[in-house]
Assembly symmetry: C2
Homo-oligomer: 353 residues x 2
């Protein structure tokens, strides 16, 4: 990991600050605590694009009425192992937590459980929900769809979102396998960072309205809905399999949007799944074999200049351990946002370690 | 589609020929018919690498005792929506068909069904099994794991197979969504074709033992297990998201191999799933929305030189229609294989249209 020079903050205090701010603008206490702890969990894993940096944005949505603070979330029970949740246009954290809890409950009874969610809003990082399954000795799945930022292969037009997929699988002594991937070449957050830092982006991330590669972000306003062009699907070009990334993006849209009964093009809709390990084999045997699988990959010879070969989830475990010990680093801009929220709500910003 | 110049053959006659040959070497009639019809279905969809061209290979496996002709396939019923099948080291077609049928049966009862299969052999194209769900108004999932051909990101070593994933989703008036993708940049079949034709391959498919790109296949014997190097995961390079393709490959291994109780590194193991649409919403509403989703993508502006923007499964539907009308084209080498099988078994090779 690169040496961290930013100021560190206390995870528990950050959670409480977020909770109190959300409560102050009208969110029920339980929902506010849940949302706050999920934002902090995200920062602990190093996914800073989806953590406490979004708190001000979510508060604005709720204050402006774009997102219900006191929703009537409805559950439709349609089979022993499936359900649909209507989020009543509320923040995705509470909807997602409710839906994943329901998927786990159904998996306890029948072996597997799947829940599709419509009329939700941003739910943070997909990882959190998938990882909820781990303590139940289940495989967890979580996806979210929305937006129109991905270029379809063979086309100059956009179709579908960057539509991330997360899957978490428990292991024994080793860290869990935790995959969290956008179905595009690159997640939106990495473009934001490159734009902020004025750095060129690799060829193969972004194309203009004629399908030509863009490497200089200063020349395009890619966030403007009027702008033509977009992010390429995972694979990049047809020769390197872009129909695969695009197919996965459409699949996520089907499971989140079409299956939940949301209208085409709406955002955000989600899909959650839980698969009980002992519906297949004894848990301990499975975990022992997971350890062996992970070790077999981690012991592969690294490329020159590479310290360690990781299985997805391994690096994040190291970040969690380091940040739990030393605190969460925050950008100056994010610290300022929290101070502004404090001034606005009267909630004391007591987040120092 | 490129103009077809090869001789065409009758799909029904090809199925019967395959069936009779398989019966002759000892396969039960029902299993032989099933295998023959699945091979032909594959050729009808244009997936020639996994169709009747493999018949001789499978016959050799069975004759040499590497693959049981009369297996005792066992089912372990472990929860209402999950099961494990032990294929007793038999050909994957019969195992796969049995497992997908079981997944569908469980989905009828509980909403979803998932079956993991160990001790199997090659099962042809993953598409066939996923598409079995369509007529039941379900989403079908099919995967297979095996081999050690994929380079891990950050490493010079191989970890995991090309591990394809197939997902089929029913639509209404439009063709079904049918995704069938290896989790590598490119499927093994495309390398075979390039090698046979002596053509260079694009940079980003294959690397040597030092991680350097290979474009000239004549210089490497990549099928030799002693050869170091391998195929890159979907994404290609770390900058373009290769951890995603690699993560998907490991996930397929977990669901097929670790979950079924097969030993690490064994091949082939499979995983099948079925998700009942009306466990989420009325089927007709879902299909109408699928049509709308597919149309929204097909109507995107094509790149210069591109005739039509496809949703995955659309091109294959056109191939099926064309080949059903005009017959299945076969390579000279494949025709010779069938003639050899005919001479060997005494089964008449009556496959002309």
């Amino acid at each position: 990991m690169a040496k961290e020079t930013r100021q560190r903050f206390d995870p528990a205090k950050l959670t409480i600050f977020a909770q109190e701010v959300l409560q102050k603008i009208g969110m029920p206490k339980e929902d506010a605590l849940l949302t706050g702890s999920m934002l902090t969990a995200c920062d602990l894993r190093g996914v800073e694009s989806h953590g406490i940096a979004h708190l001000q944005l979510y508060c604005n949505w709720m204050k402006e009425g774009n997102c219900k603070i006191n929703p009537k979330i409805e559950l439709f029970d349609l089979s022993p192992s499936t359900a649909v949740i209507d989020g009543d246009n509320s923040l995705g954290f509470v909807n997602g937590h409710k839906a994943m809890t329901e998927a786990i409950k159904r998996a306890e009874k029948t072996g597997t459980g799947f829940v599709s969610v419509r009329n939700s809003k941003h739910f943070g990082a997909a990882t959190y929900y998938a990882m909820m399954a781990l303590q139940h000795d289940m495989i967890g799945i979580s996806m979210t769809a929305g937006g129109r930022m991905m270029i379809a292969p063979g086309s100059t037009g956009r179709a579908g979102g960057l539509n991330p997929i997360a899957v978490a699988v428990p292991a024994g002594k080793k860290h869990p396998f935790v995959l969290d991937m956008s179905t595009s070449v690159v997640a939106g957050g990495k473009l934001e960072i490159a734009k902020r830092q004025g750095k060129p982006i690799p060829e193969g991330w972004l194309v203009d309205g004629e399908g030509k590669a863009i490497t200089d972000l200063s020349k395009v306003d890619y966030r403007n809905p009027e702008w033509r062009g977009g992010i390429l699907p995972l694979g990049g070009s047809p020769a390197l399999g872009s129909y695969k990334g695009f197919g996965l993006s459409v699949l996520v849209d089907i499971l989140c949007t079409t299956l939940s009964g949301a209208a085409l093009g709406t955002m955000a809709n989600h899909f959650f799944g839980a698969i009980r390990i002992n519906g297949f084999r004894p848990v301990q045997e499975f975990k022992d074999d997971m350890d062996q699988l992970i070790e077999s990959i981690e012991s592969l010879p690294p490329l020159p200049g590479v310290k360690k070969v990781y299985v997805t989830g391994g690096l994040e475990e190291e970040i969690v351990a380091e940040r739990t010990a030393n605190g969460i680093p925050l950008d100056t801009a994010v610290i300022q946002q929290l101070k502004d929220l404090s001034a606005e709500t009267g909630i004391k910003c007591d987040i120092e370690r």
